[in-house]
Symmetry: C2
Subunit: 417 residues, 2 copies
């Protein structure tokens, strides 16, 4: 295969599709979403057969049990994915939304209006339902998407892609709005240089993949590095509330990015809080790794290293540190945190204000679980990822964040003096 | 000099300064701006002496006459620069601005709040007054800035930087909020890898500089490639208005990015419009380069090449094409345009709507000069550049665009089920 020619063709066709899609009415996009949801369910057998082929190769590709579980599709999972697509259809269209209007002294009417980004290159790993989510979000927001899933899911992704493209054609939308990229590793490198055709790359996966993409891409990258999320229990915390929030943040779903990885406790409440927190966490199978002061209050705690404080465990492990006060907590988060999500438990309004002002993360919470940093929970709808970048979009990236804007300026002959 | 250590130290100090600056009250930032404006005027002689040293070396550095003119400071130019700083002081502070609020069904109060980006690395060329503008915009928006001007302006920039830092210290703000980077070329390469400390790089200068930065940087880049701006005269245009808008767009200040470089004329009005447009443009010294149909209507027009249609002349030259209709105009702009600014002259509302919807540029105007795509003219205040990117910010980048946001979420013990 002539890789540069293949990549250039993909990009060029995506660009042409994006130009058409940018001015398509909401109704037509929503029609495609509803028809796709129906077709995914109706043609489940095609998808499940393809998925079985991927699953048969999974051990050969060295996938572990939790990776195999993420790769696996079932009739229920397909139903749930289709339901997600219907929900995207029901969300407001961000394209054409007037974000701001002003009238200048010379009579010019200036409007800031939402428009699609154009072409999005999405690189992701094993879960094939992500193929559907990403395509649905991109088309609804008027963008063409290049989908580059892993080779371990290629049969599932190909079957899903076929259904989505059939529905694009039936809806008289450009089939190239959703293209599947050959999973050859070298192709990624070529595509990352095609800023002529691609407006944004979104890598979703391990940190090494994301770092490679950030280093090689000549177009902008929307990154999601990791979620090393903190729960800070302040001097003025209600300790019962603190325990509930800690347990929920750590244990409700430990494998996701907004799960807590580290607990910081004000020294004044550490003697009362740490023993009960340890009991509650250990009852749920959590391993504790603490600073020396933590170990004064709780027995059998492993010593926490610098690496533990920086880690995203994504597992039933938590690092713990006793701090002298809120400023030390803020400094600790600045040093070890990943800018994802942090929460303070406190009854002191001035402590809450200091924490929310000084902590520089995509979401900073007061008296609530870190698990709420999620597009649905914040009322933003489905998301393509949670950005730990500060540029363009931060936190959950949904339809709005897949758009940019332009200024539309209307006059009646104004010229500049 | 140990370059990596020098760069790491610069970045680390900028990061520390940014953390402090992020929570400083507006009054203190505005105080610094007003004091800096006063000090720049009061200490003009220091600046002018330093500028004289740069000017003495200018021919040695191979600067041409217009570059030397941009390098030159005068008491009037310093006064104007100081006035610009006072105007930035009067603009609203984007930090802490609540951009959105909602209350979730579970009682969580979700606020989207403006916060600084952090550390900005600004790379620019010869005009030393830009040093002041950029520092003022960054500090007002709570960001630390690394200023990397050209070696041809190093004495002027050093003198200005000294004054700004003295005022930072006097205002009890971190001096490292505004740092001047040694203009050694190798240093840029090192800094472009320090995504650990730098949140955004803004290169302002020639296309080759910007392409180099985009290719090498591991952090996001806010780019401004070029302004190949179009005036499209529609079938339904008022030809008198079209002539005024064309002349203003092309000639009012031909060396800037929002000046028109290309004229597209609907074939139905070409016989009536092109001869009068040619007279008006030639009266102002503009050279015409046209397609073959243009040359049927106007004598002595040079043939326009593909390169002419793609060019940003920044000079008294214009390319001209007769088009069959609005769709050909839109397609021509998609092919040759730079996504900066385009205007349609028309009395037909449906043509205006089609043009503003289908043309994908940072500003799309109707019956107004392209010269209005400017922060002040659109009512956005002073700008650090005009982005032709679509990510993060598009068009004029002022205080608001130097910020990101975070979600602040307040609860009373909410956990996720």
């Amino acid at each position: 295969m002539d890789l540069p020619a293949y990549c250039d063709d993909l990009g060029k066709r995506a660009r042409a599709a994006a130009r058409t899609l940018a001015t398509v009415a909401s109704e037509r996009k929503n029609h495609w979403l509803m028809e796709s949801a129906a077709a995914l369910v109706k043609r489940s057998e095609e998808i499940l057969n393809a998925n079985a082929r991927d699953l048969a190769l999974a051990t050969e590709y060295g996938l572990n049990q939790s990776q195999i579980d993420r790769l696996r599709l079932t009739p229920d999972r397909i139903q749930a994915t289709a339901q997600g697509v219907r929900e995207i259809a029901s969300l407001p269209d961000p394209v054409g939304k007037v974000l701001d209007t002003s009238i200048r002294p010379n009579g010019l009417v200036v409007q800031k209006v939402g428009v699609p980004l154009g072409v999005i290159f999405f690189i992701y790993e094993s879960r094939p339902n992500v193929t559907v989510d990403a395509a649905a979000l991109c088309v609804k927001s008027g963008n063409a998407i290049l989908l580059r899933g892993g080779k371990e899911a290629i049969h599932s992704n190909t079957a899903i892609h076929k259904i989505l493209q059939d529905c694009l054609l039936a809806a008289e939308l450009p089939a190239d709005a959703v293209q599947l990229v050959n999973p050859d590793r070298e192709i990624v490198g070529h595509l990352l240089k095609l800023d002529r055709w691609i407006d944004l790359v979104i890598p979703r996966g391990g940190e090494s993949l994301i770092r490679r993409v950030a280093a090689e891409a000549t177009m902008p990258v929307l990154k999601h590095y990791k979620g090393n999320c903190h729960v800070y229990v302040d001097r003025a915390a209600d300790l019962g509330m603190a325990e509930r929030i800690l347990v929920n943040s750590k244990c409700q779903r430990p494998g996701v990015c907004n799960a807590a990885e580290s607990l910081l406790v004000h020294e004044e409440v550490a003697p009362a809080f740490l023993p009960r927190a340890a009991v509650a966490l250990r009852a749920r199978g959590v391993e504790l790794r603490g600073c020396s002061r933590t170990r004064d209050f709780v027995s059998d705690v492993l010593p926490a290293s610098d690496a533990d404080f920086a880690a995203e465990f994504l597992d039933l492990i938590i690092s713990i540190k006793v701090v002298e006060g809120i400023e030390e907590a803020i400094a600790h988060i600045a040093r070890y945190g990943s800018g994802h999500t942090e929460t303070i438990v406190t009854g002191d309004e001035s402590a809450a204000r200091r924490f929310t002002t000084a902590v520089d993360s995509s979401a900073v919470l007061v008296n609530a679980s870190t698990r709420f940093n999620d597009g649905f929970e914040l009322g933003l709808g489905a998301e393509i990822g949670i950005s730990t970048d500060k540029i363009h979009a931060r936190g959950p990236c949904g339809l709005q964040e897949l758009c940019t804007y332009k200024y539309i300026v209307r006059g009646d002959g104004q010229i500049r003096e």
